[in-house]
Every structure is written in structure tokens, then in C-alpha cells.
Amino acid sequence: MNFPILSLITFLPIIGAFFIFIFSSDKTESKNSIYVSLFTSFVNLFLAIFLWYSFDKSTSEFQFIEQASWINGFIKFKFGIDGISILFIVLTAFITPICIISCINSIKQRLKEFLIAILVLESFMIGVFCSLDLVVFYLFFEAGLIPMFLIIGIWGGPRRVYAAFKFFLYTLLGSVLMLVAIISIYWITGTTDVNEIYQIKIPEEFQYLLWLAFFSSFAVKMPMWPVHTWLPDAHVEAPTAGSVILAAILLKMAGYGFLRFSVGMFPVASDYFIPFVYTLSIIAIIYTSLVALMQEDMKKLIAYSSVAHMGFVTLGIFTFTTQGIEGSIFQMISHGVISAALFLCVGVLYDRVHSRLINSYGGVVNILPKYSMLFAVFMLGALGLPGTSGFVGEILVLLGAFQKNYLVAILASIGIILGAGYMLWLYKRVIFGKLEKKELLDLKDLNYSEFSILFILAVLTIIFGFYPNLILDTIHVSVDQLINNYQTNLILSTLK
């Protein structure tokens, strides 16, 4: 395979953004920029699906490898994917056109710049999942901050400046430690190529500090419990499309980072820190679920539920069982679809009423029946009803957790109950009840584009729920390889 398809997928959106920047300078031509951005993102989606189709599921080797000499010959520009990363690339390519369609109606000012920011962000996000070199990874990981900062800051709500700054500085603070770790890895092993580092094996005594440095970055991005506070602010203030990207993809970069880097490169340290991660995950699951129960703001509630769901992801990864890790990857994909849909649902109401507070709604089912039906699917998906994708992820993670630690698994199960509590209560207060608010009376039901987006997402939620092998088949071999690698390393280190 000589054709550089990964580079194409990564840089195509930037090229599209460049065209928008150059050719549609006039304000009246925002139609042009919409067409260009839709065209680029759909082409990218087809390329990603083609990539998934031509991907060889039977091997755990990295595929579609591209490399070029980059920094002075000692750091290579290396792209490549395996079963874990391909899914995130498809997810990113899938969510972006949805964001673009959803923002056409809701973004009133500076649409052109918004589309540029979204496309550039897509490039950086795909770059994160493609890169097989630590420095290249860091480059894309950090670069994503710039467009997201602008999306929150320019098109956000009343407290957007605070939220944008908090988002940027929190993430940057976590990441600089990762940069120190990356450079140290280069001087320890002589390479930053991920695949070579897997072979070389970083000496045990270095692993602990390096693991912590990477953890500091991923924990902020994930976000894990005490450093999660930027997320509710960012979600509440960001425009709908921004929240969707944030929840659906940006958070997944951290989960992906844990799998690819923390677990892959530092198996001994990962094993050592299991209790630490379990504790933080359980706190995240239970504490943030309780916090979510008490929220007045719909977006904030969903943001806190994201933190809880991400708690399941970290828990699943660090069980080091096939079920646990596959479950957490599945959970990330399913959360990507469901949380995106939930934020879009909130966006639909917000565009009509301009309020995100739960108590300004009630009885919406009487006037928006289609909307209420679709919202129900996503609500049930988020609380993990069997038959939706949310169930598969959570049950697999719990299966993994029960093999390792009963107490942790039981505590995590409590989180599911709490999750059902806040989601159902949210649905009841917003959708059911009597229609008392006057300003709600003349609302219109979903228009064509809103309906089609939500419908596709609902179909996916249910398909993944009934046929999870669609995803699990792709990741299975790579996950097995990851666990094998982890176990052989542990055995080697105990033999010493």
C-alpha cells in the first residue's frame, strides 16, 4: 500500500479550510463555505470508511505505515494504524459532518471562521489517532487546543472567556509534563517511534515517573476526578457543535493515549498504579453521578455524566482483561455517539427557547413528539439499557472488573444505578408533565436536517447495541496483543 491514505485523511480537512479561507472572503458567500466544508468532511468520511473496509482485522501489526525523515533525521514523521486507532478515525470523520450540519442553523455570526476552525480541528484530531511517533502525537494533541479555544471563546455563551481559558490552561499544564517525559524517553531509548519503544522496553526504574507524567496529561484530558472541573464549564459555554466534538472525540484522545502509550510503553508502572486508577475511577463514577443528579443545567448534567462514563473507561482499561479493555473501547465509541446526540438534543431545545435550564421546560412531549422519541433512545443509551450501545460497553467493563476486584465492580455498578437515576429524572422533568410554560407552546418539531442527524445517531446506537461485533471484531486482535505484551512484561519483571 504505497498510497499515503492516512496523510490524505489527516490533511484533507486543512486543505478544505484553506480553500474556505482563500476563496469565500465575502460575507454573503457563506453558502460556498458550507458546501466546501460539507464536501471535504464527507469525502473524509468516505475515505475513513474505505480505510476501515480495507483494514486487515486479522493482524495486530500496524498497517498503512507512512514515514518520512522529519526532525534532523532522529525523529521520524510516522503514521500508522492498528485495530484500536481505526475506530477513532472513523468516529472523528463521522462526527465532523454532523457538527457542520448542526451548526449551519445555530451559528449566527462568523460562520465561515467557525467552519474553518472545525475542519482544522478535525485534521488535528485524526492526526492524534494516526501518529506512531511520540513527538508527532504531542504535536497534534496540543495543536487541537488552538481551534477548540477559539470555538469556545468566540461562539460560546456568557461565561465563555472563563471557560475557554480554563480549558486551555488546564490541558496545557497537564501536557507540558508529558513533553518532558517524551524527551526523556528519547534520551533513554534513543527513539520516539512507538513501535520501537514497544520492542526496546523502557527500564523499570524510569517507568514510574514517566507513567505519572503521561498520566497527568491524559487525566486532565479524560477528565478524571479531581481535575475534571474544566469540563462542565467548557461544555456549558461551548456552542452545540463545540460540545459535541469535545464530548465525542477530544475526551477519547485521552483514553486512546492510555491504551497506546501508558499501557503499551509502561506495563510495569501501569500494573503498579492499578489501585490508584481504580480509586480515581470509582470516585469519578459515584461522585460525579451524584453531582449530576443535582444539576439545574442540562448541558452541565450531561457533562458530569460524561465524567462518570469516562470513569468506566479508565476502570476498564486498567483491568487488563480482554473484556475490560474491549469494553472500554466500546464504551468510548458508544459514548462518542450517544453524548454527541445528547448535546445535539439539548442544542435543539436551546436554539428554540434559548435556555438550558431544566425548569424552563416540561411537557415537551406534547408539542415535539418526534424529538421526544429520539431523545428517549439516547437517554436510554446513556443509562445503559440492554439493546443500546451503552449497555454493551458497561457490561463488558464490569465483566472485566469482576475478574479482578469484587469491591470495585460492585461500586461501579452503583454508578449505573445512579446513572439511570439522573438520566430518567432529566427526561421526566423536561419531556413529561403538563405543558405549562407559555413560551413552549409554539415550538416547531425537528426540521429535516435535525431529524436526519438524530435519526442516524439513534440507528447507530441501536445497531451497536444489538450487533457489537461490528466494533469488537476490529479491535479484538490488537487488544489481545496489548494484553499479551502487558503480561509478558510483568512476568519478565518478576523474574528479575
Partner: protein, 470 residues
């Protein structure tokens, strides 16, 4: 006669200074002509130096060296001078500081820097340094009817004279211990066994740190940057920094090579203090020139972090850092010369409020420059920091690396604050639409470099790798 070629730039430079001085005296309103001649002189100089780029030689009984390292710095100085000159032309004319002496003094200070960079002898070094500094004092107070400008020049003069005095004292002590003023002889005769040698080294370090405005000798920087006319500030923020870093590297490399253990902790402290102060003190600034002053203090901290490793990789990373710093600052000042409302140049950060709606191109350039200054990938500013920290971590100086990178987070805050003002705030008054080819060109080229640097970073590092640093 062969060796004459290697001193040709300096000879040519001094001849043309005298010549333009005569033209300036005898022709009325000669600013325009003199400036045009000086452009030609600088371009010609670049060609002369480029011609003998890789040859190395010492002249005048080892008092003067010329090699690819010094030539690289000289070309960097010339290129950045020509850009600072062209972008500030409008400003100079509109503020009535178009005295023909302006560009001549500028050339004189460049001559001083040339001598300083190439010097291989304490006396020659001091002569170059003073020629440069004296020209800079005059430049700072060039706007002679403006009280702030006078204050800036005077303040700079008094403090700088003090630093020069200390430096001179250090030089004489060093001569006493080494028995020679030649750098190489000093290197052979100095081993750090006598505390007096260390004292001499510290005095010289103080003088050098003052010239590059590193903490704790930075006090003059914000006032001088703010008080001087912007055209002069743009020169101050860029060109003397290159010369200062060049002479820093040369000193650490040759005369003080044997004293690494003594100067390393001092340099680590200076660099850490500069990073932290540059990051923290800039937060409260309202004037953009003052802010750039503090940000330049911080950037010098990062550049010195590379020097403080005391190894060749470190020096190389510093050279790369200063080259990228120059590009960023030139672009920044090009933007400042475009900040004009109703015919008046403005310097307040609040003047930028909401301009992204009316001046989209200028805003996107500022966005690129500011994120690059903050060191966010994939812009060039990130690579500058990346190389420096590569060198620093290789020498296991983890504390320096971690504190340095944490202070980039703090400094990111004030860069973000400007972006917030530009993009998130409400528009008050748009800038005048200035059409100036040279400013647009500078801005375009430098932003293009900043954005596309990541595609092939080796382009610049390959040049730096072959410089003769040993």
C-alpha cells in the same frame, strides 16, 4: 592580503557610515536618500559575508576571528535590521523623527555588534560592546522632544554604564589572572582554582546578562521599550538580542570553558528567574510594548537555558531559539506598526478590542504570532522550545526543564489574554486601513515561516548544524 577579505565587511561598513554621514550633512532633508543608500549597504554586506561564509580565520594576532558561526550571526543581524528598518519607515516619517542620523547610528551599532561578535580578545570585545551601547543610548532618546524617550535613553545609559563598569572590572581581573586578554590564552590559563577567577567571571556575566536583559538585570527593559519610539523598540527587541546571545555563547565556549562548574549554576538561576519573571510580570501589563519587553525577558530565559547546558547541542538549540524569536518579534512589530486608529498609533492592548471583525487578516496574523510566542505546536515557537528542552533534558537538568515548561503555561495566559481581546471582545474602533507593501510582506513571510516550520524543521537546523561551534 588574502586575509583582508575577512575583515572586509567591517571596513566596508565603516566606510559607508562616513560616506552617508557626509551626504547627510551636505544635502538637505536627506533622510530618504540616506535610508535608501543604507538598504543597499546592508544588502551588499549580506552578499560579502555570504561569499566567505564557511571560511574561518583569525586576524590581528588572534584578536579577531571570522568563522561560519560569527558569519551566521552577522547575517541574522543584517537581515533583521533591514526588516526593522523597512517596517518602521511609515512610523518614522509620521512621528517626525526622520533625522538622517537615525539610520547612520543604526549602522554604527551594527558595526559595534560585528566587532563584538568577532572579537577574540577582551579589549576588542569591550570596544565593540561600547560602540554598540553608545549608539543604542542615542537611538533610545531619538525622539528628543518627547519626555518619555529622553527618560528611556537616560535610564538606559545610566544603568548600562554601571553594567559596563562591572564588566570592565571583571575584564581587568581576568587579565590579572590569565596574563593575557586573548580568549584562547585565558582559556588555557584559567582553571577555577582561584576564587578571584570566579569573581572575574561573575562580573563579566553580570555585564553580559545586562545586555541581553536577563533577570535580575532586566529593570531597564520595560521602561526603555515603552519610552523609545516604536521604530527603535523594534530594533531593540531583536538585533541587540542576537548580538548578546552570540557573545554569550562565545564567552561560555572559549574563555570560560574551564569554569563550567562555576558558571553553570549561575546561568541556570538567571535563566529560571528570567522565565518566571517574564511569565508573571507580563500578566498585569496594559501597554503592548511593555508586554513585549517582559515577554522578551522570558524568551531570553529560554535561550539561556540552552547555553546553561554547556554542551554543543545546547548552544545550537539557543541559536535556533534566537533565530525563531527574531522572526516572531519582527512579525509582532509589523503588527504594531499597523495598529493605527484615526491617524494615531496606539499601544494599548485594549485598543485591539474586537478588531477581528474588521481587520481579519491582521487578527489571524496576531493569532499565529501569539500562539507561536506561547510555544503551542505546530507553530515554530514550539520547536524552538522543543530543541532547547531536548538539550536541557539530555544533560539531566530536569528541574530546569520542568520549571521552564510550567512557566510557559503561565506565560500562555497573557498571550491568550491578547487573543481574547482580539477575538472575544466587542469591537470598539477598527484600525485604519494601512496599505504598506513592506509591512505586509514582512508579516506574510514571517507568519508563513511560523506556520509551515513544522513541515520540515530540519531546514534551519541543518544550517545550524554545520556552524563551527567547538
Amino acid at each position: 592580503m588574502e586575509s583582508f577579505n575577512f575583515f572586509l565587511p567591517e571596513i566596508f561598513l565603516s566606510m559607508s557610515i562616513f560616506m552617508t554621514l557626509l551626504i547627510g550633512v551636505f544635502i538637505k532633508n536627506s533622510y530618504g536618500i540616506v535610508t535608501k543608500i543604507i538598504y543597499a549597504v546592508i544588502i551588499f554586506l549580506i552578499l560579502i559575508i555570504g561569499d566567505n561564509f564557511n571560511d574561518s580565520l583569525t586576524l590581528f594576532s588572534n584578536a579577531y576571528t571570522s568563522n561560519s558561526l560569527t558569519n551566521f550571526f552577522k547575517i541574522l543581524i543584517l537581515v533583521s535590521s533591514i526588516f526593522t528598518l523597512t517596517i518602521s519607515q511609515n512610523y518614522i516619517k509620521e512621528n517626525n523623527i526622520n533625522y538622517f542620523e537615525y539610520s547612520i547610528i543604526l549602522l554604527l551599532s551594527i558595526l559595534g555588534m560585528f566587532v563584538m561578535i568577532s572579537s577574540n580578545d577582551l579589549i576588542l570585545f569591550y570596544l565593540g560592546l561600547e560602540l554598540q551601547s553608545l549608539s543604542l543610548y542615542i537611538l533610545a532618546s531619538l525622539d528628543r522632544d518627547n519626555l518619555r524617550s529622553n527618560e528611556a535613553g537616560l535610564k538606559y545609559f545610566v544603568l548600562s554604564a554601571l553594567a559596563s563598569g562591572l564588566l570592565l572590572y571583571g575584564c581587568s581581573l581576568l587579565y590579572g589572572f590569565a596574563g593575557s586578554t586573548n580568549f584562547e590564552t585565558i582559556n588555557q590559563n584559567i582553571d577555577g582554582t582561584n576564587i578571584g577567577q570566579v569573581v572575574a567571571m561573575v562580573f563579566i556575566l553580570v555585564g553580559l546578562a545586562f545586555k541581553v536583559s536577563a533577570v535580575p538585570f532586566h529593570m531597564w527593559t520595560p521602561d526603555v521599550y515603552e519610552g523609545s519610539p516604536s521604530s527603535v523598540t523594534s530594533f531593540f527587541a531583536v538585533v541587540p538580542k542576537i548580538a548578546g546571545i552570540a557573545i554569550f555563547i562565545r564567552f561560555m565556549q572559549i574563555p570560560f570553558q574551564g569554569l563550567v562548574d562555576h558558571w553553570q549554576p549561575i546561568l541556570i538561576f538567571i535563566s529560571l528567574a528570567s522565565m518566571i519573571l517574564g511569565a508573571v510580570a507580563a500578566i498585569g501589563q496594559e501597554n503592548i510594548k511593555r508586554l513585549i519587553a517582559y515577554s522578551s525577558i522570558g524568551h531570553i530565559g529560554y535561550a539561556l537555558a540552552g547555553v546553561s547546558t554547556g554542551v554543543i547541542e545546547g548552544y545550537k538549540s539557543t541559536i535556533l531559539y534566537i533565530a525563531i524569536y527574531v522572526i516572531m518579534n519582527l512579525a509582532m512589530f509589523a503588527c504594531i506598526f499597523l495598529m493605527k486608529k484615526e491617524g494615531k498609533y496606539c499601544e494599548k492592548i485594549s485598543d485591539l478590542s474586537g478588531i477581528s471583525k474588521k481587520n481579519p487578516i491582521l487578527s489571524i496574523c496576531l493569532l499565529i504570532i501569539l500562539f507561536s510566542l506561547a510555544g503551542i505546536p505546530p507553530l515554530a515557537g514550539f520547536f524552538a522550545k522543543f530543541y532547547v528542552f531536548m538539550a536541557v533534558i539530555k544533560e539531566n537538568m530536569y528541574a530546569l526543564a520542568i520549571v521552564g515548561l510550567l512557566s510557559t503555561v503561565v506565560s500562555a495566559f497573557y498571550y491568550l489574554r491578547i487573543i481574547k481581546v482580539i477575538y472575544f471582545d466587542e469591537l470598539q474602533l477598527p484600525f485604519d486601513n494601512i496599505k504598506n507593501l513592506s509591512i505586509s510582506f514582512t508579516l506574510f513571510i514571517s507568519c508563513l515561516i511560523l506556520v509551515s516550520f513544522f513541515i520540515y524543521p530540519s531546514l534551519l537546523t541543518n544550517i545550524i548544524d554545520v556552524l563551527s561551534i567547538n
